[in-house]
Amino acid sequence: MQPIKMLVDFFDVRLGVRDLYDRELKGYLLPRNVNVWYTLGAVVLALFTLQIVTGIFLLMFYVPDSEKAFASVQYIVNEVPFGWLFRMLHAIGANVIMIALLLHMLSVLFMGSYKGRREFTWLSGFIILNLTMGLCLTGYLLPWSQLSFWATTVATDAAGAIPVVGEYLVEFLRGGPTVGNQTLGRFFALHVVGMPLVLLGLIGAHLFCVKRRGISPPPFGSDYRTTEELPFFEHEKHAGGIPFFPNYFVKDAAVICFFIAFLLAIIFYAPGLFFPESAFQPADPFLTPPHIKPEWYFLWAYQTLKIFPSEIVGLGVQGAFMTFLALLPFIDRGPERRPAKRPLFMTCYVLVILVFVAISIWGHYS
């Protein structure tokens, strides 16, 4: 133990790491009734880290050129030692992140954790969700498969429905009139540099907001109190709460382990779950494959565009819904957070989830 103590001493006298540990980890107290849903933020953070690590590995072999991209992915999967594992962790990991992010958002909505002057926490989280979907969309094109090519063609084409600027927007997104090498170049740059940088900043902002304002306690049990909106800033303390480290951290670690086990179970037992046949065919701009569908988390948007008589109406509804969701903490200002005491909100909550699931299933089978 002596060398470890010497090492800690070395940093402590220079950076005060023991004080940091006492104040920010052991001294950071969480509500006593904090539940398992509060671990999802840590799960998302762990999965993002996994994406960065596997992404860097893939970057060593991937070639962002429409003539070589598909072959380079084939090379990674078939020739590079453990390349198949890194590719699967990255591609299937993106789906698992979306599951964790959606569960995180749904739990925050259910418990009304966005209330009590936590608008910035909610907004930064909501933008992280959208940015993650952007990362998924840009990453989807990179393998340059039939699925990549045509899904991106359909996705970028939707922007053309916007009046006046639609045509220019489509060309701006694609870097030309059609999806091609120039599209691959800009999606690649956004996927590996632009969006991750913004994402890191947003994650930092989100964590800052959570820490600065204080954790919103679960709205259950005898300790529950309504969340008043004070006219001044106040950090919500949890005197007598449980230390984040190591007491709650071990629960975070447990759920992270379960999520990684879930990810690995898909990789080893159902590797084709998120890969339709067109994901294994090289892109062919002259051959439109039948039944091209976006990933499951975009199916609701895809089907919404189809069921309206014009795409602009569909886009308008999507935009209105997402704007409403983004501004929810500014609209829903009541102090009550207990689900049972918010019947109107809970009815909408369940209804919207059901509609989303129904539209997504419809989109899958349409």
């Binding site: 382990c257 109107l344 909408c348 919207v352 539209i359």
Partner: protein, 268 residues
């Protein structure tokens, strides 16, 4: 949240489900025109839709020529329209794509007898509703309509084992392809062997079929060995994957047990 905002939101979401889908037709002018006709002029459309040709994107104009984009010129010989071939011309008609099979057929007993009414492609395979060929096409009911079945039965017997190997190889390669394995070389080899195999029996010579299927089987055996090697790798991956999954689950349970001890400390 105000009641009006909620109501408006719910109405918009319900409206999403109630509006009809916008459907776009992408059929050629051949299909559009013949769909509106009756009897033998309309029937091929429905038959073709069930065919392997339709499944592989082979449409009317690919066989019959013409311009599938222009109503006026669709059936004009200047645009390559050749219509339906006469009985004796069918082998050459199909043989424009199925070159190897045509070569074997025309020097075989069926091909040499075509002027006397010998069987040609559509007699066995049908025309517009054509399906992926299988050994079931060689059967007593159909063959004995023209000649005794004995020779056909011997040919079929010689083909069964190879046909089974080809079907198994197709299934295996498709499975590996769907897992991301590069099976292009093996698929190319299988494609060649399948074509050779089909060519062999269209000559309807029993001895030649027996001799040449041995060569095809040898090549198919090489594909099976490669597939077995990949399956062995997959088995090892699954084994080690299961171990790692088990370790993560175990770690998760240990962390939860540690959390339990902290909870007891927190209560005391």
């Amino acid at each position: 949240m105000s009641r009006s905002v909620c109501c408006a939101f719910v109405l918009v979401m319900v409206a999403c489900l109630s509006l009809p889908a916008l459907l776009l037709a992408d059929d050629t002018v051949c299909i559009q025109c013949h769909s509106g006709q009756s009897g033998s002029l309309e029937a091929p459309i429905a038959e073709w839709r069930t065919s392997i040709h339709a499944g592989n994107g082979i449409s009317c104009h690919d066989c019959h020529g013409g311009d599938p984009t222009d109503f006026d010129m669709a059936m004009d010989s200047e645009r390559g329209f050749i219509g339906a071939p006469d009985y004796v011309d069918v082998p050459a008609f199909c043989g424009r794509c199925h070159v190897g099979v045509f070569d074997a057929y025309r020097v075989g007993a069926h091909g040499e007898a075509i002027d006397e009414g010998g069987a040609q492609c559509v007699v066995c395979h049908g025309n517009h509703a054509i399906q992926n060929a299988s050994l079931d096409l060689i059967n007593e009911d159909d063959c004995s309509q023209c000649h005794a079945y004995e020779r056909a039965a011997l040919i079929r017997l010689s083909l069964v084992e190879t046909d089974t190997m080809i079907i198994a190889a197709e299934r295996d390669l498709d499975r590996l392809y769907r897992l991301g394995f590069a099976v292009d070389d093996m698929q190319g080899s299988l494609f060649n062997q399948r074509n050779s195999f089909h060519r062999i029996f269209h000559g309807v010579e029993v001895e030649r079929v027996r001799q040449e299927t041995a060569g095809v089987q040898s090549e198919l055996g090489k594909i099976s060995e490669e597939v077995a090697a990949i399956d062995s790798t997959l088995g090892q991956r699954k084994l080690w994957g299961s171990v790692v999954i088990g370790l993560f689950l175990l770690a998760g349970v240990i962390f939860l047990l540690v959390r339990k001890t902290y909870e007891e400390e927190e209560k005391s």
